[in-house]
């Protein structure tokens, strides 16, 4: 009898232990952002609007219509005077980028920011278990992930992942990858490195749809440290609540709207079609459909259901687009990190979500100060909010990004403690928001709108000779 009781007790203890292990597995699926470091290139890489104009001038094949088009793009872009570009473009060699130029651009970022993150968070490179690198338009062999492993002498069993080709929303994909690895339960430390390579991707032709990329992308990058170790929670800045990925590549128009390809004469460029806003809207709508139930409080969801039913009762065939505008996202989200794809994108997303000027300010200011740094732009926006001391404990931050494919990825973070680290914004935050965002180029070159093709060429020569 005693034997049986002992055996039963032993089994019970063992099974309770297994149960505890099982549930601790489930609990440690938290994903904490310990810290992040954005990249600030050296000041000799600044590109002013005047320099952009000079770069455009260098392309002698452009005619009046292209010049006007580019002018409109530069002026309406919302990009300021202090953004950064890659060295080869500033030095005038944009037409013939070498492999070494591209590698140099990456090295300038990697050699600085990754080390900075380790120093800031007091982590040794040997402690890193997972390394995710995403640089969409440059993918050498060995991968840039291996380059980081080599430079920082990481462990042999480090899990590296080098994502490429995934567009401007790829930093969310990196976070998704890391979040899934965290769910295995083992205490893991992950580093995500995100940036974009501009050097090898300059378009030197005359196709308008491909020249947009030249004007809008700027240099930047971000390195983030994440973990699922509850012991580091006190140190963490934010906690990931949910992440939603949407891929509408199955739609041909959406897939073709942002594509790297050759123009008619064989020059490679990044083609952005007129159908891009429509694809973005579709992807965004689908993403919100999945995201809204996860982030909004029940009261707001109930109100939305009530409004929809009421609307359907009155006008049963009404489309849902007007109904969507009446969801108040601000009931579940305090801050919005919008992808700085351009002022049009920020305005459109702001309108769709019903955001105020205060809400879109971080994105607009990031676009002004840093330009469109592709996948890392969200982190500069986050840095602005932190520098402005907007992020308090318990606040919820929504990040939304779009990318080629066509993808829309979003995630919700909850702020873990009051944040006030200015990082790359520290030296200029007091100048923001500036009095005026109007582009000075417009004032100087507004005459372009008054010319015809022939008179343009004549006055252009006259004008340029006086500069």
């Amino acid at each position: 009898m005693e034997v049986l009781a002992t055996l039963t007790t032993l089994m019970l203890i063992y099974s309770l232990y297994l149960l505890y292990k099982f549930y601790s597995l489930k609990l440690s699926s938290d994903c904490y952002l310990i810290d992040y470091v954005c990249f600030k290139p050296s000041s000799d890489r600044k590109i002013t609007t005047e320099m952009s104009g000079a770069i455009v001038d260098r392309n002698k094949t452009l005619g009046l219509s292209e010049y006007k088009f580019l002018l409109k793009v530069i002026v309406n872009s919302g990009i300021g005077e202090e953004t950064y570009g890659p060295r080869n473009i500033i030095e005038g060699r944009e037409d013939s980028p070498t492999f070494d130029d591209a590698m140099l651009e990456m090295d300038e970022f990697l050699n600085v920011s990754v080390g900075d993150l380790f120093k800031k968070t007091n982590i040794s490179p040997q402690d890193v278990d997972v390394l995710v690198v995403n640089i969409s338009m440059f993918s050498p062999a060995p991968s840039l992930a291996s380059r980081i492993v080599q430079r920082h002498k990481m462990r042999e069993d480090v899990k590296t992942y080098n994502l490429s080709g995934m567009g401007c929303s790829a930093s969310m994909i990196g976070v998704d990858l890391v979040r899934n690895i965290f769910k295995s339960g083992k205490k893991t430390l992950a580093v995500i490195v995100t940036s974009e390579s501009i050097t090898p991707n300059w378009y030197s032709g005359t196709d308008k749809s491909m020249m947009l990329g030249n004007m809008l992308f700027r240099s930047g990058g971000c390195v983030m440290l994440l973990t699922n170790d509850p012991a580091r929670q006190a140190q963490a800045k934010m906690n990931l609540k949910c992440l939603v990925r949407t891929h509408i590549g199955s739609n041909d128009d959406a897939y073709n709207c942002a594509m790297q390809k050759e123009d008619e004469v064989g020059r490679v460029g990044f083609h952005l079609s007129k159908g891009l806003p429509k694809a973005a809207v579709r992807a965004f709508a689908e993403n919100l459909q999945q995201l809204a139930p996860k982030i909004l409080p029940y009261s707001e969801l109930a109100l939305y259901m009530y409004r929809t039913i009421k609307q359907m009762a009155v006008k049963p065939k009404d489309s849902s687009s007007s109904a969507m505008a009446r969801i108040n996202f601000k009931s579940g989200v305090d801050h919005f990190c919008l992808h700085t794809g351009g002022s049009a994108v920020i305005d459109a997303v702001g309108r769709a979500l019903g955001l105020s000027k205060y809400d879109v300010e971080p994105a607009r200011m990031t676009l002004h100060r840093w330009g469109n740094t592709s996948a890392s732009s969200l982190w500069y926006v986050l840095g602005y909010m932190e520098a402005k001391k907007r992020l308090r404990k318990g606040d919820r931050v929504l990040m939304i990004s779009f990318g080629a494919g066509f993808k829309c990825n979003s995630c919700l973070w909850e702020v873990n403690r009051d944040l006030d680290d200015g990082d790359v914004w520290a030296d200029c935050i007091k100048n923001y928001p500036p009095q005026s965002l109007v582009n000075p180029y417009m004032e100087r070159f507004g005459w372009v709108n008054d010319h015809t093709e022939d008179s343009f060429k004549q006055s252009e020569r006259e004008f340029l000779s006086t500069r």
Partner: protein, 496 residues
């Protein structure tokens, strides 16, 4: 005076039987322990007779409560145990790209093209020598763009090659498994040297109209070992999403990577890399277990990038004329051997039977404490695996691994024949090799397969699979038409 080294006993026949006996005893230790105990218990019962047993049972004073509690605890313990196990990952099936004969590059074609494209006579001679000793055959294939003189590496041609190889492989896989594209939950694509925006994964989403909440990942730049890396990623994702399947695509796109210069260390890839792709369907659903071919047991990844020499041994850079190419250093074999040793150190304890592990342990202890001149014991991996798929990176890699792991010619036959028939197809070569073994009718239920991949970085990744059902030849796949002719004798040097 140093003590004489331990004589080479392994050649002694008597020792072979001792070793065999040792293996039997250690591997079946528990059986040897339990069998006498069970026999003696049975004898005891028989001696006592049924009445005594009954009285013994009654003396326990068991009543219903005790029995119920005990059975409840037993069931509870078993449930929790099964729930906390990691999800099993099954390989339902896989398909390899079967190149059309129109893309064939026999030696004569390759040399003719080389002579017309290459300006430097020395480079032509070098490439001739490489091709003679490469172990490649006359039926390897290059993409259409590389058949032009000079090759036309446009982005459009690269995308065309990607569509050709990837879509053929996926179409084959769909036919074999009855997979509906809308059912794919996870998509992982790895292609090292071609990474357009939107990615190849987006290209697949577009062509097959995959779902919008699909989890897709596009890995790039990760070398020839990236196939197993993708399997590892898919496995990690399948642990998180129950009841899902994952499509893994491993390929290498040759078109944009033709090297136009004259540096010898960069001309090697031109000679060795060929067109290929593989599509693999993984699942974690229990009901797929009955129709799956393999189950994934282990994946072990080793990254030697911290060592500068290892990092630089496969390196993409520009030569002095501005031509971009991938240089392969002379240390490649040594570094590969080193990476393999590190990988084995991790995978050994997971797969080797107890006898091998004890021998290795004792030899290690002996070398440290008794006599450092003892030869290090190389565990016999043939005890742990029935089949080996070694990345067909080149003849030298296969030779080196055969020596390191002490494998017989039959074990490396799949790798050598794949190199001969398809060339170095990078990350997909492991799947061509697996298909060879299946086509030869050698794959039986319960067999374990070890796939080893090497790649730039320098990485060594291994995967261990267990076969769940005997694969009957003939097998649908790239070897279908030519398996009868294999194995072929591959001469040391083919005279060109």
């Amino acid at each position: 005076m140093p003590s004489p080294p331990l004589p080479d006993f392994s050649s002694s026949v008597k020792l072979k039987y001792v070793k065999l006996g040792f293996r039997y005893i250690v591997n079946n230790f528990l059986t040897f322990l339990f069998v006498p105990v069970i026999i003696s218990t049975i004898l005891q019962f028989l001696r006592n007779g049924p009445d005594e047993i009954l009285s013994l049972y009654n003396s326990l004073e068991l009543d219903l409560i005790h029995i119920l509690c005990s059975s409840f605890v037993l069931i509870f313990a078993m449930t929790v145990y099964f729930m906390s196990r990691p999800r099993r990952v099954y390989l339902i099936d896989y398909a390899c790209f079967k190149p059309s004969p129109a893309c064939r590059v026999p030696f004569a074609s390759f040399m003719e093209h080389t002579r017309m494209i290459c300006t430097d006579q020395k480079s032509v001679q070098f490439q001739t020598r490489i091709l003679e000793r490469s172990g490649l055959g006359e039926e390897t294939c290059l993409p259409p763009a590389n058949h032009y003189i000079p090759p036309k590496p446009t982005m459009e041609a690269s995308r065309a090659e990607a569509e050709l190889v990837i879509f053929s492989a996926i179409d084959d896989l769909v036919k074999k498994t009855g997979l509906k594209p809308k059912d794919i939950d996870i998509l992982v694509v790895n292609c090292s040297l071609f990474s357009p925006t939107p990615s190849l994964s987006a290209m697949i989403v577009n062509k097959y109209k995959l779902r919008s909440n699909l989890k897709s990942f596009n890995l790039s730049g990760m070398g020839c070992s990236a196939g197993l890396l993708s399997i590892d990623l898919a496995r990690d994702l399948l642990q998180v999403y129950p009841g899902s399947n994952a499509l893994v695509i491993s390929t290498e796109i040759i078109t944009p990577n033709f090297y136009k210069g004259n540096r010898r260390d960069m001309l090697l890839p031109n000679c060795l890399f060929r067109m290929g792709a593989a599509a693999i369907l993984l699942s974690n659903k229990r009901r797929d277990a009955s129709r799956s071919k393999y189950r994934l047991l282990h994946v072990v990844r080793t990254h030697k990038g911290a060592d500068d020499r290892a990092y630089r041994c496969v390196y993409q850079e520009e030569d002095s004329d501005g031509h971009c190419g991938i240089s392969l250093s002379k240390d490649l074999m040594a570094i590969a051997g080193d990476a393999l040793k590190s990988n084995i150190t991790t995978i050994g304890p997971l797969v080797l039977p107890m006898s091998e592990q004890l021998l290795f342990f004792f030899t290690l202890v002996g070398r440290k404490l008794i006599n450092p001149k003892w030869r290090p014991y190389i565990p016999d991996f043939k005890q742990a695996f029935e089949h080996f798929c070694i990345h067909a990176g080149g003849r030298a890699v296969i030779d080196e691994l055969q020596k390191n792991l002490q494998l017989s010619a039959e074990h490396v036959e799949a790798s050598r024949m794949t190199l001969h028939r398809f060339g170095n197809t990078s990350s997909s070569s492991l799947w061509y090799e697996l298909n060879y073994i299946e086509s030869k009718g050698r794959m039986r239920r319960g067999d374990r397969v070890w796939q080893i991949g090497f790649g730039s970085g320098f990485k060594c990744n291994s995967a261990v699979w267990k076969c769940l059902r005997t694969v009957k030849a003939p097998v649908d796949g790239p070897w279908e038409e030519c398996i009868e002719r294999y194995p072929v004798e591959i001469p040391e040097i083919v005279k060109l």
